[in-house]
């Protein structure tokens, strides 16, 4: 054995360790340990009081056994006893045992705290340090409660020994991290900051960790540390390698302290004081210069320490992001490291360059290293280095090099390590979309991704390609052709079948002219993959087939036969069976027109942030630099416009929300079902929503164009929009039982809520902590039906919900539904009020909202040719027939979004009417019981000024005015 026993030498312990080491098997070891445990237990329980030495030895043995990986459930008390020994070695072992083994056993913590307290008060620096180490090691809340007040005092007291100060600083840091609320620096702040000036380098080294942590939480209180840190750093950087004696490490002066100083400065923006800033820039330049000097030693420790400081300095330079000169120098330095023979340096250079790539000052400089980085991706032997290279390529990608980088990443994917494939796929998909100049390249890239790494292509990726193809008609033909070719491969990935099925189902007609891809060939190609696919893909294919029937009537017989076959119509999977049955029926009974309507081409998806990005973010976790850069560092406009809004996690899934079937029905066939149900007959579903709205009615009645939401006889005005309600007798009992509270005035935000629904019919109307009200509505001519869903978000009951035939009680977490039938008697501008009262706990809740019924809901779209449009436009030329507004855009001016909104408005969007293709024109007729009002609309966006001009003309001035008001809030 080597020269072991300095000091004590617990021979019993050494013998025991030897025994354990000599054990030939795990069983023998366990046997030996159990014997020892029994022995120790009996000693501890024995009548004879153990002396300190024995206690220490046994506690030490227990510790050893614990460190071997065995559980220890006794001996804690003996260890605590050792703490109060006045022999240093016994105390030390006691503290060690507690540091390693104690959890928050409250009884013991009290005893331990007591011992610590005594040692802290002992004024013996060695004991004080032991106690402080123990606090820092355990760091429990109980300890923070007991000592958070005392330790700052020890830290700043003039007569505290340096070694104790060091321990106190880090001990306080640990307590601050456990219980920041208990560590109050207050009066000590300035004295703690001034520890940066301490004579003793060790004290500065320890204190700066504490100061850095406190500065992050309270930057203002600690901001004086900046100038102190700069001058300290400056002194170290300019010192000769021998000046700092033992704090020089392999000829590098104080590397740890330098790094910590540079890190502290990263908590603050660049110093405002010119002199301080000048001094700091000088330091940073010196550090960069030193990197070019010949090494003072060949030892790796020398270069590591030197480069540790260099990388920290570069971090600070990147953090400031304001000194182009330094940024470019940093980049050049890292460029040298990219080819260094040390793997560690190559790794770090790749990593650090990733952050440099996001700075506008150094982005171009980073790009010059593209060949080296690509080479690293191909040749590095260590996967963690290759991963860094891939990250850097992703970060340095922009429009100029996207094609090259995407191609390299794709080819790397073929051999990439499994562990990083999924992330690589996401990155390629994001880059391809972000920098697509033409979308055929984008489509090619994604299909290649599926071909090369199909298993790693998540749903988000293939959803996204479909969204984009649907939204851009310039690429649809190409996409159809490309998927058709891709599907020719004898073995193609299921994801390819999904994309192929969807795209051919929508756009197969675009390539059907070519006899090589005639409808039947397309169908046979898709169907040849059918039996190899999982249920969700098969379901998707079935939807594609029914779309085929609509696109190509000549395939009808073949497809019906497939649907009729037992393997479909009697499929054991309900979803498939249901689709087969329904599609077969649909195709045989529906007229061509109905079929064409039901199976119409999918409308464009609303523009949204790529969900792929969200997925990558989730994968990388919050600390991932490269992702946050992607968002921050958008350097060039994206083809895909409004990519930044929100983080919509499920791109396509949302559009499916109303689909009853749980399996992804991308074609959205099912949601079409309820449309066209019989118009509600008046009085069939009587609702007492407004039974309490009576008192509000008279005030509303002042307006000629008002509505009556009341059930009291609507005497005042027959020109009103009447919301049908129950007969008076129905409503009477409920209103009497509900007390006489007046309905509350409409919520201030009710207009805003109303505006949300101008262009859509479904959604959440209102939500607070208690209640959520969802709405689904449908309109046909001058009639409408609205479903209100009252969701109880709490876990307790609402009592006395006043909405009659609804159950007067909503269970916690439950939802009740209410149906309102609507008839538009005449045009109107005020929305009906909905007053809701219920009891939550003891309190009556009283909420009044505007029901989202607006005049445009009764639009019937009117298609017309350009000539007709302008003729009518001219006819409606009286000044009062026109309403016009010029207003600023509230949202991104995205053509697709605008189109979707105008369609949601209910009018027909007329293509090729306006001579200026940027403008939109629409036409429709508003249906009321009294009359029909024809409306024409023209919307002229001015992208440069971010303004719109909206003009409405209709045969009735109040309608023009109201529509104009409503629409001006929408864009």
């Amino acid at each position: 054995m080597p020269a072991v026993s300095k000091g004590d030498g617990m021979r019993g312990l050494a013998v025991f360790i030897s025994d354990i080491r000599n054990c030939k098997s795990k069983e023998a070891e366990i046997k030996r340990i159990n014997k020892e445990l029994a022995n120790i237990r009996s000693k501890f329980k024995g009548d004879k009081a153990l002396d300190g030495y024995s206690k220490k030895k046994y506690v030490c043995k227990l510790l050893f056994i614990f460190l071997l990986g065995h559980d220890i459930d006794f001996g804690h008390m003996e260890a605590v006893n050792l703490l109060s020994s006045n022999k240093y070695t016994e105390k030390q072992i006691g503290y060690l045992f507690i540091s390693v083994l104690v959890n928050s056993n409250s009884e013991l913590i009290r005893l331990i705290n007591n011992a610590i307290k005594n040692d802290l008060a002992s004024r013996n620096p060695t004991f004080m340090c032991l106690a402080l180490h123990c606090i820092a090691n355990v760091g429990s809340r109980e300890m923070a409660e007991a000592f958070a007040g005392e330790i700052p005092r020890i830290l700043v007291a003039g007569d505290t020994m340096d070694s104790v100060k060091q321990s106190a600083a880090l001990c306080l840091l640990r307590l601050y991290k456990t219980s920041p609320d208990l560590v109050l620096m207050g009066e000590w702040t300035s004295r703690v900051v001034h520890l940066l000036n301490d004579q003793h380098m060790g004290v500065v080294t320890a204190a700066i960790s504490l100061i850095t942590c406190l500065s992050q939480k309270n930057p203002d209180e600690f901001k004086t540390c900046v100038s102190l840190a700069v001058s300290r750093l400056s002194r170290i950087v300019s010192s000769a390698s021998t000046d700092l004696q033992d704090y020089t490490y392999y000829f590098v002066p104080a590397p740890w302290l330098s790094c910590k100083l540079l890190r502290l400065l990263q908590c603050y923006p660049p110093p405002e004081d010119g002199a301080v800033k000048g001094r700091l820039v000088e330091c940073l330049e010196t550090i960069l210069n030193k990197a070019q000097e010949p090494p003072k030693s060949k030892k790796v420790q020398h270069s590591n320490a030197k480069n540790a400081i260099l990388f920290e300095a570069i971090s600070l330079i990147i953090h400031y992001d304001s000194e182009p000169n330094l940024l470019v120098r940093a980049c050049n330095q890292l460029g040298q490291f990219l080819q260094h023979r040390e793997t560690n340096l190559r790794y770090l250079a790749l990593e650090s360059m990733c952050t440099l790539a996001s700075s506008e000052f150094s982005h171009e400089a980073v790009k010059t290293h593209i060949e080296t980085v690509i080479n690293a991706l191909k040749t590095e032997r260590d996967v963690s280095v290759r991963q860094r290279a891939a990250d850097l390529l992703y970060a340095m990608c922009d429009r100029s090099n996207a094609k090259q980088i995407v191609a390299e990443m794709l080819s790397y994917l073929e051999t990439a390590d499994y562990s990083i494939r999924e992330e690589m796929v996401l990155k390629v998909a994001i880059l391809a979309e972000k920098y697509a100049v033409d979308y055929s390249w984008y489509v090619d890239t994604i299909l290649n991704l599926i071909r090369i790494a199909g298993d790693y292509v998540s749903e988000e990726v293939w959803y996204r390609v479909i969204q984009i193809v649907i939204n851009r008609d310039d690429v649809q033909g190409y996409a159809a052709k490309t998927v058709f070719e891709a599907l020719q491969a004898p073995a193609c990935h299921e994801n390819m079948v999904k994309v192929g099925g969807y795209i051919l189902g929508e756009f197969g007609n675009l390539i059907a002219g070519d006899p090589r891809s005639s409808p039947l060939i397309q169908f046979n190609l898709l169907h040849s993959k059918f039996h190899l696919c999982s249920v969700p893909t098969r379901a998707l294919l079935l939807s594609a087939y029914i779309k085929f029937i609509n696109l190509f009537p000549e395939t009808k017989a073949t497809i019906q036969e497939v649907l009729r076959s037992d393997s479909q119509i009697r499929n054991s999977d309900v979803e498939l069976q249901q689709r087969a049955v329904e599609y077969l029926k649909l195709s045989s009974i529906a007229s061509t027109d109905v079929l064409a309507t039901v199976l119409e081409e999918m409308p464009p998806f609303p523009e949204r942030e790529s969900s792929i990005l969200a997925k990558l973010k989730k994968k990388k976790g919050p600390g991932a630099v490269s992702v946050s850069e992607l968002e921050d560092g958008k350097r060039e406009g994206e083809l895909n416009g409004a990519g930044e809004r929100g983080t919509d996690a499920s791109a396509i899934a949302t559009s499916n929300a109303s689909t009853p079937s749980p399996s992804a029905d991308l074609l959205g066939l099912r949601s079409a079902a309820p449309v066209g149900s019989a118009p509600p007959s008046a009085g069939s579903l009587l609702v007492d929503v407004f039974s309490e709205a009576g008192p509000a009615a008279p005030s509303a009645a002042v307006n000629d164009d008002n509505f009556l939401s009341d059930l009291e006889p609507p005497t005042e005005n027959s020109d009103s929009l009447l919301v049908e309600g129950p007969s008076e007798s129905d409503s009477a009992p409920s209103s009497s039982s509900l007390g006489s509270e007046d309905p509350a005035p409409p919520l201030p935000e009710s207009d805003e809520l109303l505006n949300k629904f101008v262009c859509k019919n479904n959604g959440v109307l209102f939500e607070n902590q208690l209640l959520q009200i969802g709405i689904k509505s449908e309109y046909r001519q001058n009639l409408g039906r609205m479903y209100l869903f009252y969701g109880n978000k709490t876990s307790v009951q609402f009592l006395n919900l006043q909405a009659k035939p609804v159950e007067p009680l909503v269970e916690g977490g439950a939802q009740v539904q209410q149906v309102i039938n609507i008839e538009c008697l005449s045009d109107f501008s005020e929305a009906p009020l909905l007053n809701i009262k219920f009891r939550y706990g003891g309190a009556l809740q009283n909420i009044t909202l505007k029901l989202p019924i607006t005049i445009n809901k009764f639009f019937q779209p009117t298609e017309m040719a350009s000539q007709d449009f302008f003729q009518r436009w001219k006819q409606l030329s009286l000044p009062q027939q026109e309403a016009q507004k010029i207003f600023k855009a509230n949202n991104a001016m995205d053509t697709e979004v605008l189109k979707a909104k105008l369609l949601g408005l209910g009018t027909a969007l007329l293509e090729n009417v306006d001579p200026n293709p940027e403008n939109f024109v629409c036409a429709g007729v508003i249906q009321t019981k009294a009359q029909q009002v024809g409306c024409l609309l023209r919307l002229e966006p001015n992208a440069q000024a971010q303004m719109y001009r909206l003009t409405l003309r209709s045969s009735k001035d109040s309608v023009s005015k109201r529509l104009c008001e409503l629409l001006a809030e929408q864009f």
Binding site: M1, V4, Q92, S99, G202, S209, N307, D382, E629
Partner: protein, 168 residues
Amino acid sequence: MKRKRLNTGFKMQFMLLFSRQGKLRLQKWYVPLSDKEKKKITRELVQTVLARKPKMCSFLEWRDLKIVYKRYASLYFCCAIENQDNELITLEIIHRYVELLDKYFGSVCELDIIFNFEKAYFILDEFLLGGEAQETSKKNVLKAIEQADLLQEEAETPRSVLEEIGLT
């Protein structure tokens, strides 16, 4: 200022020493974890690190942490730091600790650490506290340890070999 980084300096999460055979020789945890979690982490990391080839880079990403490791003779020294921390300075923390052990034991080997694990802990506590460098001067750390040893020798009463063995 594009980087969203808010970490607290060079906070080490834990340090593990293990042999080429995968036997754990020393563990120091600077973050509160359950025993179960500690065992799981140890098992996973030992496996990961031992599987790496000699010329590979000393850093690897693991969960959301960064592992910095280096092999000295038969022992691996392995530290976990936060993702944005300075890898190279951590590598030199390891080296300085090895130097301290070496100086104290006189050309240290794995056996020294096995038989004197408590000393290895004491030295580590003088050097790093709560995962942060407390004292980087080799002289100062060893001075503190030697002072303690001195106290120890004064306090120690010699014991007979017989008594020692009888009591084991």
